[in-house]
Assembly symmetry: C2
Homo-oligomer: 375 residues x 2
């Protein structure tokens, strides 16, 4: 889960005068093995007319596969394959919107994102930008979207990010990495088909699942928690334990990790992340380390803050035979360290959530540097 999504919760929780967030939930969800086959039936009543296509944004790993062949393309629907190698950008969103507007005389009936967090976030952003003027960078922030997005559907093919239920789409902009946090961001429909996650590599499966796990540890140990987020976070955590420490069949494991991601995503409604996300953000900013693995690299050294969580993490890592890269920070200069530390310490709500209002008395640049040096 991206940090920007989580900062969003602070806005409401830190300021009770505004009240609790009126959280937008995904209004339609179907869960089941091969439920992907129902997509055609689900989209049919949402088709405005034959000139208003559905646009399918699909992770390019599916090009030429059975999954791509099963996408219910009719009329002038369009499949656009997109690489998920890099995190999504505002320029990429704007280019996709331009392409769709050039290719079709009518506003699409809807956008369908099929892939991991990157594809889901792109689908959300494109659906917003098809009805809102200007470039997507102008909407990075909180509640800046004025007009409802077009109908959009999320179909995760890897579990853990929670992007399928969140109200943000995190984009790398020209001058900041920040989410478009808006009630219009949430998907109108989600299809949860555990069979779609069958082709994920073991490493990616672990890192993305740990995104969910680490978020749960941080939010459950945070000071912002309430009973709503706690109940979802606890269930997501239990499911992660079953998946990474239990002895499930592959099928059970896929089912349960998909639900862990779902509940983990829901748990952000009224919670916040903490130390791992703050420090991982520094790592990502300086070195471009991707979110899932970045969290793991940091989290393994946070025994001081999350003793039980780190113990569990190490057990999971061992049981799954995952070996994390080492010496990531070995060659860095003092200036590099300063940059990472500055970015990390700028994430005030995360530190406050993790350590309380007096966090500045406990967190020093030296302390963070010592942790980064271990990575």
């Amino acid at each position: 889960m991206d940090i920007n999504k989580d900062i969003d919760t602070k806005k409401v929780i830190g300021s009770k005068a505004e009240g609790y967030r009126n959280f937008p939930m995904v209004p339609r969800v179907v869960f089941g093995k091969d439920s992907f086959n129902q997509l055609g039936d689900i989209l049919l009543p949402k088709r405005k007319h034959s000139d208003a296509p559905f646009i399918f944004l699909v992770d390019e790993v599916f090009e030429g596969t059975d999954v791509a062949a099963r996408i219910p393309v009719i009329f002038n629907d369009q499949i656009i394959f997109v690489s998920a190698e890099e995190e999504p950008k505002t320029t990429q969103v704007d280019a996709l919107v331009q392409r769709i507007e050039n290719d079709h005389s009518e506003l699409p009936s809807g956008i369908v994102g099929i892939g991991g967090g990157t594809l889901l976030d792109l689908a959300k952003a494109v659906s917003i930008m098809l009805t809102n003027n200007g470039g997507s960078a102008a909407y990075q922030g909180w509640d800046l979207v004025q007009k409802p997005s077009i109908y959009h559907v999320g179909i995760p093919t890897i579990s853990g990010t929670g992007a399928e239920v969140s109200r943000t789409t995190v984009l790398m902009g020209p001058d900041k990495k920040l989410g478009i946090n808006s009630d219009y961001t949430t998907f109108d429909q989600v299809v949860l088909d555990p069979n779609l996650t069958q082709g994920v590599s073991k490493e990616q499966w672990f890192y993305t699942g740990m995104d969910c796990f680490i978020h749960c540890i941080e939010s459950l140990n945070g000071t912002y928690l309430n009973a709503f987020s706690q109940s979802y976070g606890e269930k997501a955590l239990d499911l992660c334990k079953e998946v990474y420490l239990g002895d499930l069949t592959s099928e059970e494991s896929r089912d349960k990790l998909m639900m862990a991601s779902w509940h983990g995503g829901m748990s952000i409604a009224y919670s916040q992340v903490g130390v791992a996300h703050a420090m991982s953000y520094g790592l990502g900013y300086l070195l471009g380390v991707k979110h899932g693995i970045g969290n793991c690299l940091v989290f393994q050294h946070l025994e001081e803050f999350y003793p039980k969580g780190v113990q569990l993490f190490n057990q999971m890592k061992e049981k799954q035979g995952i070996i994390l890269p080492k010496s990531i920070c070995a060659e860095l200069s003092d200036a590099d360290y300063d940059t990472m530390i500055e970015v990390a310490m700028g994430m005030e709500p995360l530190w406050e959530n993790a350590l309380g209002k007096s966090w500045r008395s406990m967190i020093t640049p030296e302390k963070l540097k010592a942790i980064y040096q271990k990575i």
Copy 2:
């Protein structure tokens, strides 16, 4: 939870050709102590104009209380206090719709139900019948509602039924007790304010909470379960254990039971109840025993089917000092027993869920009679 709601799931799960249900979730939820105070702000953008009122259907126990005083009534909004002594009826729904149509020249902006399962179900039904022709009895069944209901908000003041998240409203009709099961039934907005449950009597708190607990036991031990419903059911069950067996503060207990009800309600998406609900339905049909207590009266004698569940139930009952009424069936005639047995055995999907397809080889009238005689 009412049996009719649960039968609904069979339709989809028992018949994979139709696919998995595309489950409608409540699209907006706010959770928090005194979040009820945000209701005015929530309703404001939903007001069509000053002649289109909000109608508040409120449990009459709140008449003259602080809760009633805090209802954000403006313009020609109307508060209608309703008794929850009896379960809701189709005639009651039709009379409420008639009254609202007589009192206002315009279709209301929305309906707000404030109370337990009865008030929530009435609010759902009235919101449907304001846009659909004829009497409500004509819509008892599955997916018979043709037109979208008007905007409707659910605000539970007692936790356990799951009515706040379900897609049914269970009504006693002229010739059957059956839900209006429809995607238009689900609330558009739910406000979860644990402080609203402060005034509930200990007995009612126990019986309604046990509605949630027993549903979880039945669905988790059933043959229809999938990972989606399982994860919600397990969390609801864990929360029930904390509430009824743990040593929580009153505040924690209210928070957690409200979340148990929420997750328990969500768990019905792809699950089904079992033996207790089937037999409780017989008891309710013959003797008018209300749903929550009826489930308890039956469940205590179901060790054979749910050994661990009954053990837990007895622990909870003892810890909470609840004494269930006895000899309910002492004066019944053979014909009375036959009636209850016939009603109970007619609930085929529940037996199939509980015991598998060959349930008829295990359940005989004599067996059920022996159980009823203990009640």
